[in-house]
C-alpha cells in the first residue's frame, strides 16, 4: 500500500487535532493502516499546534524536513513556517485567513506579505490549494468547522485513499449530533469549492 505523510498545522483552538483524529478514524474504518500524532500540553496555549496522519503502514509518528507528502495548514503564516517540511513534489492546502500573532503587535517581527508567499508556493510546489476556509465554514453554519472544510478539500484532491462518503460516515459517528449537519455541509463546501 502506498504510504502518505500528512502534516496538519495551525494555531491552538483551530481544531487541527480534531481534523487529524477524524481523518485517522475514517482511515481506520476503511481498513487503512494509520497512525496519528498530536501535540498536547504547554504547546497548546495559543501556540502552533501540529499533528500528523501517517497512512499505509508507516510506524513513525512525526515527519522530518522535506518529507511531508501533503501539508494542510489552517493559517497562511503557519503554511509558510512549515514549508521546510515539504519537498518540491508536495501538495499544500492552506487557509488564507491570517491569525496575527501577538508578537507582531509587540513589534518583534512583521507578518509576512502572504500574497507574495502564496504565489511563491504556487510556483515552487507541485500542487497548491489556497482557500478562504473561514468563509466556507461560516457559510456551512459554524466558524468552528474550518477544520472540516480543509478535510473536504484534502479529500477532493484524490491523493489519499479516504473517500468523501467515508468521511461523512465518520463525521456522523463522531461529531455531536447538533453539529453534524453543519460539519457535513462544511465538508461538502471544502470538497466542491476549494477552487483547485
Amino acid at each position: 500500500m502506498e504510504t502518505k505523510k500528512i502534516l496538519f498545522t495551525g494555531v491552538g483552538g483551530q481544531g487541527t487535532l480534531l481534523a487529524s483524529r477524524l481523518l485517522g478514524q475514517a482511515a481506520m474504518e476503511a481498513g487503512i493502516p494509520v497512525r496519528v500524532s498530536e501535540v498536547h500540553g504547554m504547546a497548546q496555549r495559543g501556540g502552533v499546534v501540529e499533528s500528523t496522519v501517517m497512512l499505509g503502514g508507516l510506524k513513525s509518528p512525526i515527519i522530518s524536513q522535506a518529507e511531508a507528502d501533503i501539508l494542510v495548514s489552517f493559517e497562511p503564516l503557519e503554511a509558510l513556517r512549515a514549508l521546510g517540511r515539504c519537498s518540491a513534489g508536495s501538495t499544500i492546502i492552506t487557509n488564507t485567513v491570517p491569525i496575527v500573532p501577538f508578537t507582531v503587535d509587540l513589534g518583534q517581527a512583521e507578518y509576512p506579505d502572504m500574497d507574495y508567499w502564496l504565489d511563491f508556493m504556487k510556483n515552487n510546489f507541485a500542487r497548491v490549494c489556497a482557500l478562504d476556509a473561514d468563509a466556507l465554514a461560516k457559510e456551512a453554519g459554524t466558524t468552528r468547522a474550518v477544520n472540516v472544510v480543509l478535510l473536504g478539500t484534502l479529500i477532493s484532491l484524490g491523493e489519499i485513499p479516504v473517500s468523501r462518503q467515508m468521511m461523512e460516515e465518520t463525521i456522523r459517528q463522531n461529531v455531536k449530533p447538533k453539529f453534524i449537519d453543519a460539519n457535513l455541509k462544511a465538508l461538502g463546501l471544502g470538497f466542491e469549492r476549494a477552487g483547485c
Partner: protein, 563 residues
C-alpha cells in the same frame, strides 16, 4: 458510558497511547489507581478519573496530592493483593523515587504497574531525564511500547509479570508514544474485578528495618535474576531480518528504524533487534545477536542505556563487533529523534545512497513572527502579576525584586511583557528557594506558586520557612484547578467537576495552621484593592502569604456555577 469501558471485544478503536494504557489496565482487572497529572502522562489520569466517576465503575481512582503519595496508595493496594497502577511524567518519578527504591525491596502481591512518561526534547518539561535509568537503579523490570496497541498489550503483560515476580513493573513511554493514536483491537473486560484484598501481616517482609531490608535486598536481586529469564524469552523482544549490519532499538526509535528499513528497501538485509522488554537486559539474546553481525547501530533517544550494555556484553563474551551509537557520534544524547535522522544513520552504516526529496530554495523566507505560549486573555494570573509589579513600583522596590517561581501556567510569567519568573527547579521549589535567596541576598523576594503545586509540595517548605524565620512574600495563585495539565481537581478547589464530592481544604486554613499570621486574600480583578494589599505587605519584612483567588477562566467556563 465512558468509551474505554466498551464491552465490544474485537472492535477497533483509534486510541491515544495513554488511552490504550487505561484500556489495558481495565482489561487486566486493575482496581486501584492513583496519580498526579503531568504531561505527557496526563490523559491516563484524566480518563481513569472519569471512568472512576461512572456508576458501578470497576476501578477506584484518585488524583493524589503528589506522585509520592500516589505511588504509596498504589503500593499498599498491591501489598493487599489488589491490582494497582500509578502513572506520572518523568520528573514525577523523582518525587516518587523515595517510595520506588524501597518498594522494590518489599515488593507486591497483587500486580502493580508504574507508568513513566518521558519527554525527550522537553515539549512540556524542565528537563529530559531518561527514566529507563530508574529501572536499572531500582532493579525493576521495564517494558517499552512502540504503539498504542502495544501499550495496551504491555500494560496487561506488566500486571502478569508483576504478580509472577512479586515486583512492581515499569512501563516507560515517551511523548511520541503517549500522544500517538493508532488502532487498538479491544479485548474482553474481566467479568469480575478484585476490588478488595486482605493484607497479610509479615513484618519480616513489609517493614524494612535494617535487618529486614538486608534480606529483602537479596530477594530483590534474586527476583531480578528470574526477570532476566523472562526478558530472554519475551515475545516483546523481536528479531527480524538477517545481515552483517545489526540494529538495536526500543520505543519510538524502533518505529523510525522500521520506516527507514522499508524506505531504504533493506529490511531483509539488516538484522534488527527490537527490545520491548529491555530491562533486565536479555543479555543472552543480545549476545547471540552480536555474534551474528559485523557491526551494530544502537538507536535510542537520550542516554546510551542499551549502547553501554551492548558494549559490556560484547566485551564479556569476547565478540569483535563495532558498536555505533552515541559514543561514536552517530546520535546525540540530547533531544528526540526524527525519522530522517535515523534513516541517514542507517544508510550510512549500511553503505547505501540516501536520496533526499528536492526542496525549493527557501532561503528568502524572512524571520517569521513566533507564537510563544501565553497566558490566556483574561487569565487572573496576569492581573496578579500586574498588581505585584505596580505595588513594587510604588514602593520603589522593583529593581530589588527577585521572583522565584513554580510549575504551572503561571511559569509563563517568564515571558514579556510580564517577566516576573526568575528561578525555577521543580514542583514546589518557589518556597524553598525563596528561603535560600532571603538569607543569602538583600533582594526583595516575592515568589509565586499555584494551588495544586502548593498541595503537591509547597506545604512542608512553607512550614520550614516559618520555623526558620525566612523573610519573603509567597503569592499563592489559587485558580481552583490544576490548569496547565487540563483542569484536574486538587484538595483546595471550590469549583468542582460534576459529582466530585470530596472534602475541601481551604488554603488559607493550611497557611494559618502553620502559624503564619501575615496572611491576606485578594481578588486580582479588583486591581486597586489587590495593589494596596501587596503594597502593604511588601513594605514590611517577615514572612507573608497572599492568596490571589480567582478561578481559571477556561475551567470556570466548563464547571462554573455547578458547585
Amino acid at each position: 458510558m465512558h468509551p474505554l469501558l466498551s464491552e465490544d471485544a474485537g472492535k477497533n478503536m483509534l486510541l491515544l497511547g495513554n488511552e490504550a494504557i487505561v484500556r489495558g489496565a481495565l482489561e487486566a482487572g486493575c482496581a486501584v489507581a492513583a496519580a498526579y497529572p503531568g504531561t505527557p502522562s496526563s490523559e491516563i489520569g484524566n480518563n481513569l478519573f472519569f471512568i472512576s466517576q461512572e456508576k458501578d465503575s470497576p476501578i477506584y481512582f484518585e488524583f493524589s496530592t503528589n506522585e509520592k503519595v500516589a505511588m504509596e496508595v498504589a503500593a499498599a493496594a498491591a501489598a493487599a493483593g489488589v491490582r494497582s497502577l500509578t502513572c506520572m511524567k518523568h520528573v514525577g518519578m523523582n518525587v516518587a523515587s523515595d517510595v520506588l527504591m524501597t518498594l522494590a525491596y518489599v515488593g507486591v502481591k497483587g500486580g502493580m504497574v508504574i507508568i513513566t512518561a518521558d519527554d525527550p526534547s522537553m515539549h512540556s518539561s524542565q528537563n529530559e531525564q531518561d527514566n529507563r535509568c530508574y529501572a536499572r537503579f531500582a532493579n525493576l523490570p521495564m517494558l517499552e511500547p512502540t504503539s498504542p496497541a502495544e501499550a495496551r498489550d504491555m500494560t496487561v503483560a506488566a500486571f502478569e509479570l508483576s504478580e509472577a515476580l512479586e515486583l512492581p513493573v515499569m512501563v516507560r513511554t515517551t511523548t511520541r508514544t503517549s500522544h500517538v493514536r493508532g488502532p487498538v483491537e479491544l479485548k474482553t473486560l474481566p467479568e469480575e474485578v478484585k476490588r478488595k484484598g486482605a493484607f497479610e501481616k509479615d513484618p519480616r517482609r513489609w517493614v524494612p528495618v535494617p535487618a529486614v531490608a538486608r534480606i529483602r535486598h537479596k530477594v530483590l536481586l534474586e527476583q531480578i535474576e528470574k526477570a532476566k529469564a523472562l526478558s530472554e524469552a519475551s515475545s516483546f523482544n523481536i528479531l527480524s531480518g538477517n545481515g552483517p549490519l545489526g540494529i538495536v532499538a526500543s520505543g519510538v526509535s524502533a518505529c523510525y528504524v522500521e520506516d527507514a528499513l522499508m524506505e531504504l528497501g533493506c529490511a531483509d538485509k539488516v538484522s534488527f533487534l527490537r527490545l520491548g522488554f529491555p530491562y533486565p537486559f536479555p543479555r543472552k539474546k543480545i549476545g547471540a545477536f552480536l555474534k551474528d553481525v559485523e557491526k551494530v547501530l544502537v538507536v535510542e533517544e537520550l542516554e546510551p542505556f542499551l549502547e553501554e550494555e551492548i558494549n559490556l556484553i560484547a566485551r564479556d563474551l569476547g565478540i569483535d563487533v563495532q558498536v555505533m551509537g552515541k559514543a561514536t557520534g552517530h546520535f546525540s544524547r540530547m533531544y528526540e529523534f526524527d525519522p530522517f535522522m535515523v534513516k541517514r544513520a542507517i544508510a550510512d552504516a549500511a553503505g547505501l545512497e540516501l536520496e533526499r526529496p528536492k526542496r525549493p530554495d527557501l532561503s528568502g523566507i524572512p524571520t517569521l513572527p513566533l507564537r510563544p505560549p501565553v497566558l490566556c486573555k483574561g487569565c487572573p494570573h496576569r492581573e496578579t502579576y500586574n498588581a505585584v509589579r505596580d505595588a513594587l513600583k510604588e514602593l520603589d522596590l522593583e529593581e530589588k525584586a527577585v521572583y522565584p517561581t513554580d510549575i504551572g501556567c503561571y511559569t509563563l510569567g517568564l515571558l514579556p511583557p510580564i517577566q516576573m519568573a526568575d528561578y525555577l527547579l521543580c514542583m514546589g521549589s518557589s518556597v524553598g528557594t525563596s528561603a535560600g535567596f532571603s538569607i543569602s541576598t538583600d533582594h526583595k523576594i516575592i515568589s509565586f506558586i499555584g494551588d495544586s503545586t502548593f498541595f503537591h509540595s509547597g506545604i512542608s517548605s512553607l512550614a520550614n520557612a516559618f520555623h526558620n524565620r525566612h523573610e519573603f512574600c509567597l503569592v499563592i495563585l489559587d485558580n481552583s484547578t490544576t490548569a496547565m495539565t487540563g483542569h484536574q481537581p486538587n484538595p483546595g478547589i471550590e469549583i468542582r467537576p460534576p459529582g466530585y464530592d470530596k472534602p475541601r481544604i481551604p488554603i488559607e486554613d493550611v497557611v494559618r495552621g502553620l502559624g503564619i499570621t501575615d496572611i491576606h486574600k485578594v481578588n486580582p480583578y479588583k486591581k486597586k484593592d489587590a495593589r494596596s494589599v501587596f503594597k502593604d505587605v511588601l513594605s514590611r519584612g517577615g514572612l507573608s502569604v497572599v492568596i490571589a483567588e480567582a478561578p481559571c477562566i477556561l475551567y470556570y467556563r466548563k464547571f462554573g456555577g455547578k458547585k
